[in-house]
Symmetry: C2
Subunit: 345 residues, 2 copies
């Protein structure tokens, strides 16, 4: 399938090499960066018995500050219906994985949390707006999101379209305006990063190809194109923006980028696994949706156990990208990769 | 109606004072900047017989370069359906009034056209994305735009939503990344300007209030709130961004802002007039739409002749804001105001 060679530039940068026979990267060795050892040959990256870290508490504290910042950034004001719709989705309880990644990456390279907070908020706004639009009847037609009725169910389709658009605008305005104490060049670079990650060469490319492939049999290469764009690209940008704002060196930004991309793919593999193993109540969204729609998923292509193994391998690969950073400062991102690999909803 | 006092901050900055008895600003003198003379008492701003300028040629040349830049910035690539949808609307023949305003404002304050081109393109992308989403069945349900079938009629609703979103992302990424030779602080300020102009405190606020008021009787204050947000705010930002990128002084940016806002209101008053006086063929979009929908318009509220007079007064007011700038360099913006006042479609 020549498609992958021409159209999958992001995919070609994935550096994972592992033993799964259906892993589609091996056919394109020249486009790959040097292969790294997979989980099975790198046991030191799998378990660190002494690496104690209360990730749950870390995540909860960061998420609380993100929630506070989002709430303060977007108070209810006129026109109330629009603002209420924006706030309904933006402030819905969530794990805030993406903004926490931004904050953690900024701190990893020596930056302060507060300087990265506007970008962390912007990343979440862009994520949430993509969910609001995805759920629309003319796209995924999903009536349940984060355990509550979707935005358009509550506010109507027209307002949901506009609330998504308004979150979009606000994300960029907020990132550009509220980021303080950072050289403007860095802020600009991070703004461009967010724009590219969410647009026609990022998230939306994945979304469109995903819809085009609905009901069709696709192979691992196309499945990975979809996930690397639809899910991983924004996670990559979330981490990269944190690094850029925190003043990371070029090579550090690239390592953070690869970490984010790998974690993004991991996120989706786990999502696919959860879709077949969990109930709607546990997930807070419609379960078994992919299967019902005849969508290709990792468990469908490689079986449930191999998909779980792939998740382990990706988690190990993500951890490897963090080597070279200060080990102590890297703990949150290291444990976040493990958390994403082992989450239950 | 207390609504206007609380919710219409942009409205309160309009500095027009004129003799129309139904002009609703006079009731809030403390929130107004010093009143300026209206057209009838400032004949020198109405007609300049010796001020010859080939606006048609100027506009055509600028629009051609904007078209070229848009075409180059967004080539057709994978995923083709998404890009084709974006290009279908973005490259549809249009007058490019907003980007021309950006370029003209930049040159007015001594900047070079090329430095403002990425922002000119971004302004057009944001304008076009708002049209694509406005036309959706769940919002304005309009099947004709710029003389051609609307985006969702050709590409389907889902793709139209995503193409609009992708234009949105690209606008910000392009403005942030492609602007060269300008201090990053200026670029950042202009990015924030665009985000605010198109979001919940700008264009979308006007859009939502417009929809909420459909089928209701509204007064001039609400009508002006709608137009100052839905139409004028982006025109204001187009001009302000040109000034900011060109290195305008603070006070110059404010004057440009007022010029843009006045021209924006003018644009809408003329639009309302054209809606009742022109055919769909002449307009390139559905004519008589406002009337059919029972929408409040300027002609409906004040009669056709008074609406025409208001347009003249706004054109004169816009020209007055240009006094103090180099008279020669201000010619394009001066004539643009007249052109908008006297356009036929």
């Amino acid at each position: 399938m020549a498609y992958a060679f021409v159209c999958f530039p992001a995919f070609a940068q994935v550096t994972i090499s592992c033993s799964s026979p259906s892993w589609g990267v091996a056919a394109r060795p020249r486009r790959l960066l040097p292969a790294v050892r997979c989980a099975s040959s790198a046991p030191e990256a799998v378990a660190h018995e002494t690496d104690l870290f209360d990730l749950k508490r870390y995540m909860a504290e960061k998420a609380r500050r993100v929630d506070d910042s989002l709430d303060r950034a977007l108070p209810l004001r006129h026109p109330e219906r629009l603002l209420a719709s924006m706030r309904y989705s933006l402030l819905a309880p969530g794990k805030r994985v993406r903004p926490v990644l931004t904050l953690a990456a900024c701190e990893l390279v020596g930056g302060e949390e507060s300087t990265a907070m506007p970008f962390a908020c912007a990343v979440e706004m862009l994520h949430v707006m993509s969910l609001v639009h995805d759920d629309l009847p003319c796209i995924d037609n999903d009536e349940l999101r984060r355990g509550r009725p979707s935005n358009h169910v509550v506010f109507g389709e027209g307002v949901a379209v506009m609330a998504g658009d308004a979150l979009h605008c606000f994300a960029f305005a907020h990132a550009a305006e509220a980021t303080a104490g950072v050289p403007p060049m860095r802020v600009l670079r991070a703004v461009a990063e967010l724009g590219k990650a969410t647009g026609a060469e990022g998230l939306l490319a994945g979304q469109v190809v995903d819809i085009e492939c609905e009901g069709k049999e696709v192979g691992l290469e196309v499945l990975e194109y979809i996930h690397l764009h639809k899910t991983a690209r924004l996670l990559e940008a979330a981490v990269a923006c944190g690094g850029i704002i925190g003043g990371a060196e070029e090579e550090e930004v690239e390592r953070l980028r690869r970490y984010g991309r790998t974690v993004g793919l991991l996120f989706q593999v786990v999502d696919d696994v959860l879709d077949v193993t969990r109930t709607s109540e546990e997930l807070g969204k419609t379960a078994g949706k992919d299967l019902a729609k005849g969508k290709t998923t990792y468990p469908k292509l490689m079986g449930l156990e191999k998909a779980r193994l792939l998740a382990e391998e990706l988690a190990a690969k993500a951890e490897e990208e963090l080597q070279g950073f200060d080990r102590n400062r890297a703990r949150p991102l290291r444990h976040l990769a493990r958390f994403i690999a082992h989450r239950h909803n």
